[in-house]
Symmetry: D2
Subunit: 500 residues, 4 copies
């Protein structure tokens, strides 16, 4: 719901699980997949899907798909049908609505000359148009506009099926990776193996872990691969799949098969907005917890944009770590000024009425005692279209705030993303509108300041200039060699040249 | 519901419609398609789908699909989305249930190098396994087990897309027809044209008509193509698509493009069970009304299996024409002995109880006055598994019938169908069970007699020996040359050699 | 659906069942009630409800209610909750739609000083307004506009609860019957007993039967009471509850407790439209099968309104017995001219289009061979608003009928019903419109004739003048003393004076 | 969901709204009621209902009810039907599940001799059993077990309807209030007026406000009455209905009609758990914001139960104000240690597996960086059954917390509530179990301390001993005279003697 309001959204979440130990297993692979998808629900609420395999020769695959949240998409009786899987992959998909969208729901399963494969994909192929043409020129009809179907057909296509005796899916995956540089985090399931693949630029996240053994009765250890490290909190984070890496996950263990390199000189390009906005705060990327990065953003923001005010607060809940960081760095007291009604946003109210104008206001209540008669610094994580912060400011002022200073813990979004993030059109972005000239006046704030691109990169790449912790921005130069980030939506500099 | 009980069922119904006159039209193509599918509902209740095209360059296709009856599958608000179509095709699908079956729902739409095509298919390709292998050998992944997806990929495949400038869909369809002899009635929509295709054996029905102009405000005449001639009763029957024929239907008219011949010496093989069971009684095949054929079956049955009885009656509603024919021929009075509760069969009653035994009984009430103390000839259209007629006989006897003679207006089904009809396994067919030896004893009837295969063919092919109408069985020899029928499920003689 | 079109409808169906033998019983009371309601579904499709009692002291009642058909209203898991009932009553309710109508769904259960009673009611109290005022004057608030809630409060009210030690429900029911003369067929369940009550005029039907023992394992015999004799076809008809009678049904048997008399000189007034239209053809009222009465109506119609024509046919399915009777009496051959699409009427088509005009046409297909070039007598059971027969006539004429003579097996409806039947307003009834002057011209028929009131009463009351059966109309004089009928909707003569 | 876990829950929320200005109004009364119920959703998720009146003579009432959350219960098309209301009342109901519970859904509407009234009720009548008997002795049948139906019948009953010419609802309400002392907050709508009633002990909250005028086009000011002050954030808090007060709300304004007194010497008894747990933090009771009271509870807890630790944190989200208060008072830094997955808890997972044990764990992710290697004070608002905190402690310890001290910002719950709060049985309450002896050991905490009853009362009644703010506990003596609170669930001392 927040996503709808802000207008930006992750495309997808992917999750895989292999039961270790003897097969057929008593372990609840389908249920773990379901829990994993619930934990990734923030990455896609349009539809959900699971494919399990029993891992035998030939394998039996079972598919479960549905529209909406995981809780809506899967009925309890459906889950029972999946219970004999020994491994499986799952997918949650982001928003675009439509009548017959179930056909776009992943994972995709296709039958090939060498058996069935199932594919779940997070990301967006930058050269999709050219690849579609290539596949269709070969005489293949494509039934959806989804990159994931395109990927399955590309995997089936080369090398020619008829010329090989065994499928060699790894070679096919490598071949795919040479045809398209980014962006994808990919799970390919074939019989008893899951291949976890991350594009050479590492644009989308993918990490590997294992399920904590719960008791002696269940000594087996499942291997888990997912979009973020946190999905199941009993998931023990192991490591990330490296940019360009193909990792094979089977009941025998985790094995790195290959690393497809980037063009010489190109740095990696992990999406910096994963830190700013998309990921759960307890997820770990590049060795650091997202929450901590967000807190650093807040501290950096306090350095860049100090405010003469009485209290610091947050637009709950995503901006809270940045707000606490700002409070820490600035020395101003942290208080809560808004309480959220979590039931709001699900009710059907006739549009085009004045009630619509109350949309955000009713979502939040003002905790008046904490700020009446005071100057408030309100931290938000990002401002995309500028239509959600405005009623909040109005609410605070009416409830007695003498000043409301907006401090945004990320730079303005100005450019479209072609790598899997749904961003409003350039025209819709507040940063590209004439109103941005006087953004404070437009949204009714006393003042508005954004974090700089350099500040964001510094906070992400580990250092901030702070008297407290002595972390140095200078340290980021060294760091950037190994962990470069994609800032295209902020700077317009895309990691690869775009084909049109 | 009847289908579930009898255990045999048509695979599918197909329906197409092109608005004549100026485009964009005000004519309700989507609504006519919906009505057409409702009229074909008896041919498939699992799912329903519609694809409309606006017919422009490039065309915009809109798809609507759903599980269950047309009334369940399409919501009113969904239909609105289709309203600007100028032509379209639709499909109803028969029974096999499963979790994610929506993906099997037709029509299939695929994007090819030369644009999108939509395909709706009724039938079953006898050499599907070989064709699947061929397509997959080419490097294509198949995402369903459906013949219809296979057909779309075959159409995309040959001749190679890259070697031609224009699609020439007709050549591709012809090529498909040479690769697979039967069975299919096919609608292929491309931009502003529908190709109506019937396999060279003419196994599945397909006819062409036009919508009656309703008023002067709507002087345009839509062209209609559908599985049966009767779907919309305002549909004016024009003619059948001939075996092997490709007919192009556009706003400019109906044009026969080609007829792909059968192997020399092979007669056509239109499914004889369309007459016996599947089709609506008001449909017209081969120039004759189904109702009339069924009535002839009843008269032929009266000749072959006369009965010393007091009254003739029917198992409503499908056997009524045969019963009236039997009454006419035999001179026995026709009465109704059963009344049907049309709400039965939709309620969830716990299985495995004695209530289950009452299943059929409660579906019918006995009209005691009409047969108490009398000898009844009860006509049924077919006996497949023998489990539905038995409780009816019991009901009649308990209500006072002194004798109940079962006369079946078709021969026993003994063999599987590989051409699109869902028939129980050989083991389930009563005609293959030991109990068939004493079928009368098994079902509790005073006597049981079936129509002979020769008698059925005679009735279908136009002649019966009857004092009343002087139609001659001998006339059928001549007729059979042009209108041979598939009787494989009765005789085991399939129209083509089966590949395994 | 037919009801919607014709615009007349029964208000309700009631059904009760008591398990005989030892309690707790293994017999499936809830399931038998469900089957009973399905069999009464034609008497009400708006909602369905069941209340079961375990019969102990104090009793536990379990309630199940839902909107729509029985199959929609009751989920399988819900039925399980009722499974331990030893007796129960059920109700199906007719049409008036609305948002919060579930609260009008019967049976009503109320808690009184002397325990809970459950009430199911078919009919309409002619003096409801006065009774409501009386109850409210006593200080009772009424939460619905339903007569059934009114009945429960009336039962609770007199004699004053506080003045009696035991409830004496029979005295309370008798008291109710003196306060309101008609119309009601009532089931009152209290603990381990069902009281079956019919108003002194016998306006609504109610009959008693028993469930056929199925096997030795189930030797117990349930007692059944229901609106019609036919609901469960395994129901063995025992007898009708007499006008004014209170029958007690318990596991110990069936016991007539009392008969409350009508005012001296008043004949009984069983609704004659039960025979004409509402009841199932296999039901038995007053010792005669409804089907047979309808057939007699057809024969009487043939005598009153003979036609110079070639064939006789029916508007399926309800007019078929009358059509067969007409054919028998007239000597004209009976054929089928229309086939029905039973899926039609459930699809959402946008209104206000020309497609709406096709409404009825698409519901029926023409069996052209049977009447093309012929003069058709088409029998209908009733014409209420005249808007459904017109498109049928058009269809037949367009398909080749040279003449279409409409013969209606009942007289024109001219007056409203205040005793439980939903009839269109006087203005909507075709018989009250100017168009009725030239009804044949209005509906496009060659000629139109109705059965006379006298003819209908004759057919119902047992005699028709016919060469075949020599039953004498004169015999009805004698008969009418014991079995008078309400013909108010045809004649305007109501059985009791109406209060306003 | 939280409620399910903790096992305690408010019974209901009530909300009313009267449009000021000219009638018929263009103001969206039904939509404001809907928003109001959404804002009260935390007070009841079982069902929701709205009744609007057009206010004319006689009034037309329209009712909308449904099961589940407001968003599920009301369809957009349903809301349209309510749009012409000029005033209305609404209700959300808490949890007890069942098949036919829609009939328990409020508001109740009953028709009386003096017209219809609608009643919405929050609370539970302590002498309900005696009142039911009284009503039934009068000859009234009660169709539900709900206190609200009982209230409507009590209102209808006395004084006798027949003896008065005008209803005088206020006299009837006063009469009701003398018959039952507590607990109820009641809205009674009659024609064009809402009576807002609070029981003499003021046990349940009820406050009055007005809707902020949005623009000049909508200059009218609606009057609003609701369970809490905060429901619609555009609601301007005006004042609380006083204990025993009857307030009349009409388009002409707000008018206090009467105050029914408590027995001499009895203090008021507002439910103290409204502050601790039920109410939204932005609500205002007795002139103070709930958030601020909770913060004071945290500070008082820091005084009563200081801890030698490194960081203070919260079980999000309800304990956050107390945690911030504890941090403030103790000087320990406040950090977040848990992040919540708000999608968890809605998925169907097969029970009885080890996955069930993971229930809470997966609901929270650990923000490891903030507490690894540290001693954590974790503040919770209450511990009811002790089964939710245990897995959280385990999660924190596994993630590196060296010590986890639980501090509970309310005293242990030991006694049942008979005034409208659903509390687990005495046996289920952890405070009554043997395990409570070593509660820290039982739940795995390093230490556990609760706030004292005196401390809670002090915090609620305005003073805490704190170096910072110098608010004095001593001040509460004075305060308690006017604002006594019900602490029965903590102390067993009920405000009135209970009848059994």
């Amino acid at each position: 719901m927040e996503f709808e309001e802000s207008g930006i959204g992750e495309e997808c979440g992917v999750f895989g699980c292999v039961a270790a130990g003897e097969w057929p297993t008593q372990l609840e692979v389908a249920q773990i997949l379901t829990l994993g998808l619930v934990a990734l629900q923030h990455r896609g609420q349009e539809s959900a899907g699971i494919v399990t395999s029993n891992g035998s020769t030939p394998p039996t695959y079972t598919t479960l798909k549905g529209m909406g949240l995981v809780s809506t998409a899967f009925k309890p009786e459906d889950l029972l049908k999946l219970k004999y899987g020994n491994l499986g992959i799952g997918h949650t998909r982001y928003s675009t609505t439509g009548i017959s969208e179930l056909q776009n729901c992943q994972p995709f399963v296709v039958d090939t000359l060498h058996g069935k494969i199932a594919v779940a994909h997070n990301g967006e192929l930058v050269n999709a148009a050219a690849l579609r043409k290539k596949v269709m020129r070969h005489g293949v009809g494509l039934s959806t506009s989804s990159d994931s179907e395109l990927i399955t057909q590309l995997l089936a296509l080369t090398p020619p099926m008829e010329e090989v005796d065994t499928p060699d899916w790894v070679a096919r995956i490598k071949n795919l990776m040479t045809e398209t540089p980014t962006s994808y985090s990919l799970l390919v399931m074939h019989k008893d193996v899951i291949y976890a693949v991350r594009d050479p630029y590492g644009n989308r996240p993918l990490s590997i872990g294992r399920l904590v053994p719960i008791s002696k009765l269940h000594s087996a250890v499942e291997r888990i691969v997912d979009a973020e490290s946190s999905p199941v909190s009993v998931h023990r984070y192991h490591r990330e799949v490296q940019p360009g890496e193909i990792v094979q996950i089977s009941k025998h263990g985790i094995k790195s098969l290959s690393v497809v390199p980037r063009p010489e000189g190109d740095p990696p390009a992990f999406c910096i907005f994963e830190y700013v906005y998309f990921a759960r705060p307890d997820s770990i990327f590049e060795g650091q917890m997202v929450y901590t990065v967000r807190q650093r953003c807040g501290r950096q923001l306090a350095i860049e944009a100090p405010t003469d005010a009485d209290v610091v607060s947050t637009v709950p809940e995503s901006a809270t770590p940045a707000a606490l960081g700002y409070a820490q760095e600035s020395g101003l007291p942290y208080v809560e000024v808004l309480c959220k009604n979590r039931y709001v946003g699900r009710t059907f109210i006739q549009p085009n009425t004045r009630l619509r104008q109350l949309g955000v206001a009713k979502k939040f209540g003002a905790l008046t005692d904490n700020f009446a008669g005071k100057r408030v610094v309100l931290i938000d994580d990002s401002i995309v279209r500028g239509n959600t912060i405005s009623p909040i400011i109005k609410l605070l002022k009416e409830a007695g705030a003498t000043e409301v200073h907006i401090r945004v813990a990320s730079p303005p979004i100005r450019f479209p993303c072609y790598m899997g993030i749904n961003i409003p059109t350039k025209e819709e972005l507040i940063a590209n509108k004439p109103e941005f000239e006087d953004i404070a006046g437009y949204i009714g704030a006393t003042s508005v300041r954004y974090l700089s691109v350099e500040g964001l990169v510094a906070a992400v790449q580990g250092g901030i200039e702070s008297c407290g912790e002595k972390e140095q921005i200078s340290s980021r130069t060294k760091m950037s060699k190994r962990i470069g980030h994609c800032t295209a939506c902020l700077t317009g500099k895309y990691p690869v040249e775009l084909e049109w």
